[in-house]
Symmetry: C2
Subunit: 395 residues, 2 copies
């Protein structure tokens, strides 16, 4: 039987080890396609799948690096009949058996993950005009299948927006879908919130006024990664949904307006959301980037900016940058605009895609959306698990 | 009557405006203590507390910067008998009345916030040994008062750990306290989780094995900011609680080991938490810093590191840095160690203070903690609101 792996995944064996060399504190494997992998001793030792190193129920490490001997050595190596790699560790005299598929997938210099998340692809209104299917739209009748559900989630990940139509028009319809992804993130607006006209309200969302393209909850250090809206009723005149890809806006500004781009990515901006029973504050650039320079968060709850402090030149730069960002975010070339129908569920990447609505008359008809937040990582986790299950089925 | 302010706060009027000048697209106020404040037109205009600009129920802005006229002007200014500042905006012909306390507090070049969060103060075992009251400890009998509750929260913010003793030993005791702060963050371990021995488990936390000082959920982009544990039972031999201030460890490494500090703050490290129904992954330096270079997150769920990739020199640096971090985090000079008693509730800043436990015998006695997560910003929001309420009462 092939050795256990230190996770819950399945690893194809596309290549077998042909030769093992121990040298320079590492195990060097030559594979049957000529590729060579180098595994440092401590690296290899800490991922030994034996029950002392990995808890075989949780598949979590039982040890820390400091629990291992200072001087590790391999006294013997062997390639098993099934291609497994067997080494004897000294001074522990521990025999460790490694799965060749796992070793190959985790080659430190050339890893091959079983699954990679789809790429994020920016979009504009004009760049999607030729496609009938934007935003990506899926049928509520089919969403119960893992295949359709995966495709919806994949589209939501790569486009930052994806729709399901024709779900049963019932208050619990939202949770029935999103519970299949992961835990909902509760905020001061509750776990599920009803977006409709409210007299005694604590958010502009609960009025009939128009809302320009924006993200939600800019005052949270981790601005909610995903937002879901389910349409229960929409019989008002107006109240159309607006969507703008903040990633496309940011890339446009990066290319054409480098000064404003530098300001937006570097200058911390104060945000505040104050209510009778809460007061959230956070100071952060409007565009956050990772160590590759890729944009990770667009933060644009424009009505929650706190009064800016700083010298007058900084304040001037702020207003120039804001006007520029609004210019593109509210421009028809960048904006999708469509009415939600009862039974529609829309998922939006709230750290990337801005949403808004046109104003509506509060006197005729009723507009009622149910909404909730969730982290991006729940979507990513679900995509990985669905793909893992697919691989198990096809193995 | 004094003008409204664009938030829910109260502003003391310690100084009155003495003179107003309009020049260079700004209003210049000379105060009665000789201080001078400059308010750019667009800044001043966008915080006009009139009902068109600010929704007087939500106290949120109704407008975006792009809704304002391109060319703003002030045609007249006046200081009211109550010290309010009245300006007439053109071309809108809008009279705006500003509260002098609000204006002074928000002076762009010299703001004076009503409230500032307490400073974070690193601690070690030796630096706290002379103090009887560390970790800061509060009585369950008094925690119902806002004053005691504020002090507990303030201590939790500044020390990263604070205890309440002698709460009623009941499963709901945890929620009764933490619900007063803000919403709990649900994870794949649930909203509230029971830390006790479990046979079919998905986390090392639910075993009897020792756990070195660590943070929880390193695989989440936003590693939970706060963790609360409430002790229901603790009759085992062993199972003592371990606490280490990761901030103190990081500062020690910054001072004495600059190469390792650079690695820990700059090199993204992959983390993975894989289960039958979830697979969370994130890649990030172990120490995250803000634009001031201050440490915002210590990430050290050591058993959730994914197999590292990269060149062999990077892998060598990883293991050196990990050994160094463990060395301090597990060192008696840095570590507090004490048994939790039934009725104790401990709050820990999970992005800063590492926790752990000594192993215990699974056969004698029972150890049962109830736990949950929450974001740091809920604590900060609650501290602000409690202070605001205190100021309203004393006004």
């Amino acid at each position: 039987m092939l050795p256990d792996v230190p996770d819950f995944d399945i690893y194809a064996i596309d290549h077998l080890p042909e030769n093992l060399i121990v040298a320079d504190q590492r195990l060097i494997i030559t594979w049957d396609d000529g590729k060579i992998s180098h595994y440092p001793f401590v690296w290899l030792r800490e991922y030994s799948p034996d029950a002392g190193t990995f808890n075989d129920i949780t598949r979590e490490q039982n040890i820390a690096v400091t629990d291992l001997p200072d001087e590790l050595n391999i006294s013997s190596t062997e390639i098993g009949a099934d291609g497994s790699v067997i080494v004897n560790w000294q001074p522990e005299n521990l025999d460790s058996r490694y799965h060749p598929g796992w070793l190959r997938a985790h080659c430190p210099s050339n890893p091959k993950p079983n699954f990679e998340l789809p790429k994020r692809t920016p979009w504009t209104a004009t760049r999607t005009a030729t496609s009938q299917a934007f935003p990506p739209t899926f049928s509520g009748a089919l969403i119960n299948t893992d295949k359709e559900f995966s495709e919806w989630l994949g589209a939501l990940h790569s486009s930052g927006v994806a729709v399901i139509t024709d779900l049963p028009i019932a208050p619990e319809a939202l949770e029935k879908v999103v519970d299949r992804i992961g835990p909902i993130r509760t905020s001061n607006f509750g776990r599920i919130f009803d977006v409709e006209l409210k007299a005694e309200t604590n958010s502009n969302a609960y009025t009939s006024q128009p809302l320009r393209a924006h993200t939600d909850l800019a005052t949270r250090e981790y601005q909610p990664g995903l937002q879901f809206f389910f349409c229960m009723e929409n019989s008002v005149s107006g109240g159309e949904t607006i969507l703008t890809d903040g990633l496309a806006v940011a890339e446009k500004i990066r290319t054409d307006h480098p000064d404003e781009y530098a300001f937006l990515t570097e200058q911390p901006i104060p945000f505040v959301n104050t209510d009778r029973d809460s007061e959230y504050r956070y100071e952060v650039p409007i565009l956050e980037t990772d160590h590759h320079g890729d944009i990770t968060t667009v933060r644009f709850t424009y009505w929650l900016r706190a009064p800016m402090t700083g010298d007058l030149a900084t304040l001037d730069s702020l207003y120039s940058a804001l006007r520029l960002f609004h210019h593109y975010a509210d421009h028809e070339d960048y904006q999708l605009r469509f009415p939600l129908k009862p039974g529609d569920l829309i998922g939006v990447d709230n750290r990337r895609v801005l949403h808004g609505r046109t104003g509506f008359s509060p006197d005729v008809g009723h507009r009622w959306l149910r909404g909730c937040y969730m982290e991006r990582e729940e979507l990513e986790s679900r995509l990985r698990v669905l793909d893992r299950q697919r691989r198990f089925r096809s193995a």
